[in-house]
């Protein structure tokens, strides 16, 4: 009994945690380069509506996911233009992107509301691996390919960030853009590419919601997930691997808030993601951890060459 309980919960955790993970990975890259993007909710909405529209019209859900990524990326460039090129306040620009994204997706999605999607990305079970006790049932039985994509992406992005020159470049731009600039790094280009990565992944997260998770489009269907991702980025202290753990931890909490409802107040469990982000921040800001795993130093600072 207790076994099927744990297996069921963990299996659902993967399904709910995947959009959180995709968005968090993107936001980590964006913030690592020094650009805070609060527009995730908006980019996810744009991704969700364009994915749904594409899959609905062409009957190809994979093409829908592709378009979701492109649309999210395109939306993020808007944030890049305002906050990197025009050096406006990143918080204001990100919030504007959220509102714009929610509004635009609502407007263009009108015609697709209340329509069922016939072609979704089907769940798969992996032969042999699904027979592994426990792990097989959780990971390899009746799960969606997009979940694997997100999980495989995590170590790749982590490796790039910590063990390649590209990663050093990104992190140095986020820590000290002036120093990076003086070594010949194109700060603007790096920041644009990181923001773009964030946008593409947020778009994919939205596409997952409207094509895989619940195949339908409705205005506001992201229901605050974008804000959860912002909290998660802080919780993970800007590390992709901790981002993965955090996304699935948050996913488990949301699922458990219903699973445990007869015994535990759902309000308490729903508050936990935000509460734990605050606790993580407090722990990080205590002691020496701060230098190693804290927020990028130049986060939220527009870079202006020649200025101190």
């Amino acid at each position: 009994m207790i076994e099927s309980w744990i297996i069921g919960t963990l299996s659902r955790t993967l399904a709910y945690g995947t959009p959180l993970l995709l968005g968090t990975l993107g936001e980590i890259y964006s913030e690592r380069s020094g650009v805070l993007n609060l527009g995730i909710e908006g980019m996810m909405s744009i991704g969700a509506v364009s994915a749904f529209a594409t899959a609905f019209l062409t009957g190809n859900p994979w093409l829908g996911m592709l378009v979701a990524g492109l649309a999210g990326g395109f939306a993020s460039l808007l944030h890049g233009l305002v906050s990197i090129t025009l050096r406006a306040n990143q918080v204001v620009s990100g919030l504007a992107l959220t509102m714009l994204g929610l509004g635009l997706s609502g407007l263009f999605g009108k015609g697709f509301e209340g329509k069922p999607l016939q072609s979704t990305i089907p769940n798969i079970s992996i032969p042999i691996l699904q027979d592994i006790p426990y792990l097989g049932e959780i990971l390899f039985n009746n799960q969606n390919p997009v979940i694997y994509f997100a999980i495989v992406l995590t170590p790749i992005l982590s490796f790039i960030l910590y063990h390649t020159s590209i990663g050093i470049t990104i992190r140095s731009v986020g820590e000290n853009p002036a120093a990076a600039d003086s070594t010949g790094i194109n700060v603007w280009l790096v920041r644009y590419l990181c923001v773009l990565t964030g946008g593409v992944l947020s778009g994919l997260a939205g596409g997952y919601l409207s094509i895989v998770y619940r195949p339908a489009w409705t205005q506001g269907m992201t229901a605050g997930m974008g804000w959860l991702i912002i909290a998660l980025t802080i919780f993970s202290s800007w590390s992709p691997v901790r981002g993965l753990l955090g996304a699935f931890f948050f996913g488990a909490l949301i699922h458990l808030s219903f699973r445990l409802q007869p015994w535990v107040s759902p309000g308490l469990l729903k508050m936990m993601p935000y509460g734990s982000a605050i606790i993580a921040l407090v722990i990080l800001s205590l002691g020496k951890l701060n230098r190693k795993a804290g927020a990028p130093n130049a986060l939220q600072q527009p870079y202006i060459r020649g200025e101190k």
Partner: protein, 395 residues
């Protein structure tokens, strides 16, 4: 010359006459001014649930009455109600305003004080004043019929109920569903999970999943999207249409459902406003509580399909013993009860005593019918309901 003068005079007369006619016709047009009705929604029209059902009603009356002009505001939350009403009255000359969420009550009442010449109608509300009436279409009779079918079809004897907000409307729905279940299947239990919001598809999905894990194989719900139904079908369970025909989202999984025809109420209200029967002075006692009898709600997986044909044979093959009716198939029982509640003289209601809540308190004595106020303030949970129940009366 004469001829010219004659032409001139006649043309002058003609011009003056036509000017008078134009003036006259313009006053006729002015008298024939359109009635302007504003609708304020709590969610997006695209929720395909609650807000959509109101908008279908709005389209219905706009089509019906050539003298009617309507406009809407979507996603209006409680704090924005008054400013939206101000804008409707000042900028768009609204004569009648419909506010469609329980959460709009305070805003509607205080805005009605500021705009005494405007008529207001508040859906699901309990407060009225001389220019604020209330209206509501009750779905509980249909939830009872859904409960009869669900109780007959469940194999695990566990039914799930995904509920939005723990208010007395939703509790009334759950109780009627549970009463229907108990009538045909005394062993079955109804397991409730709360979303604490009207619209949050991911949460609705996880709530459904968590109920599937404890073995539920049929689902009812009161929330504003087809998520529960979609998730149920994915996992081989059945569920129901809610507010709107949701059959096309889940052709195998939609057993039946409850559909609203809000246009019927809107038409009655607007007709009476247009012909001066309702004014901004006499709404104090105007309260619509329309049910099956008035045609404000109907049973169906979609319009014209009361019960999904895939399930009819099984419902016909299951029989139960019912007082007064004897041995009867569940299918016939559903149809009989539907007829009893639909007829002009209603001869059945789900809430007829003896009814005990799950704490053992007798809520309705033998043969007693629940009154309007008892239905509207319902807080208790029926015997076969499991799971949390915020605000449950203790004693």
């Amino acid at each position: 010359m004469f001829k010219n003068k004659y032409v001139l005079t006649t043309s002058m007369v003609f011009i003056i006459l036509s000017l008078i006619l134009v003036g006259f016709s313009s006053t006729v047009v002015a008298q024939d001014k359109k009635l302007k009705a504003g609708f304020i929604y709590v969610g997006p029209v695209g929720d395909y649930g609650y807000t959509k059902s109101h908008d279908v009603g709005r389209e219905y009356v706009e089509e019906m009455f050539p003298w009617l002009e309507t406009f809407i505001a979507e996603n209006v939350q409680a704090p924005d109600v008054e400013s939206t009403i101000d804008q409707f009255v000042n900028n768009r000359d609204a004569d009648v305003i419909f506010t469609t969420s329980f959460s709009h009550m305070q805003g509607t009442i205080s805005a009605a004080e500021d705009h005494p010449d405007t008529l207001f109608f508040h859906c699901s509300g309990v407060q009225r004043r001389k220019n604020v009436g209330t209206y509501f279409s009750g779905l509980y009779q249909l939830y009872y019929l859904n409960g009869l079918m669900a109780g007959a079809l469940t194999e695990s004897d566990k039914l799930g109920y995904v509920a939005a907000i723990p208010n007395s409307e939703v509790k009334r729905h759950i109780n009627s569903f549970a009463i229907g279940v108990k009538e045909v299947n005394p062993d079955a239990t109804v397991h409730v999970r709360w979303l604490n919001t009207w619209f949050d598809p991911p949460a609705a999905k996880e709530a459904t999943q968590s109920l599937l894990e404890i073995g539920a194989d049929g689902f009812a719900f009161t929330e504003d999207s087809p998520t529960v139904l979609q998730t149920a079908q994915e996992n081989g369970a059945f569920s129901f249409s809610h507010y709107n025909p949701m059959y096309r989202f889940a052709k195998e999984g939609t057993l039946s459902g409850q559909l609203t025809n809000r246009g019927v109420i809107y038409a009655d209200i607007l007709y009476k406003v247009y012909y001066g029967i309702y004014t901004s002075n006499n709404l104090k006692n105007v309260d619509y509580w329309w049910l099956l009898k008035e045609g404000a709600v109907e049973l169906g997986a979609k319009r014209g399909m009361k019960i999904n044909p895939d399930y009819i044979d099984e419902l016909k093959s299951k029989t139960v013993e019912v007082p007064y009716l004897g041995k009867i198939s569940v299918y016939d029982l559903v149809m009989k009860r539907l007829k009893q509640m639909k007829s002009d003289r209603v001869t059945f209601d789900p809430f007829i005593g003896p009814i005990k809540d799950r704490e053992g308190v007798l809520r309705l004595k033998d043969g007693e019918w629940a009154t309007h106020d008892e239905l509207w303030t319902m807080e208790w949970a029926y015997e076969n309901i499991k799971g949390p129940w915020p605000g449950e009366p203790k004693e």
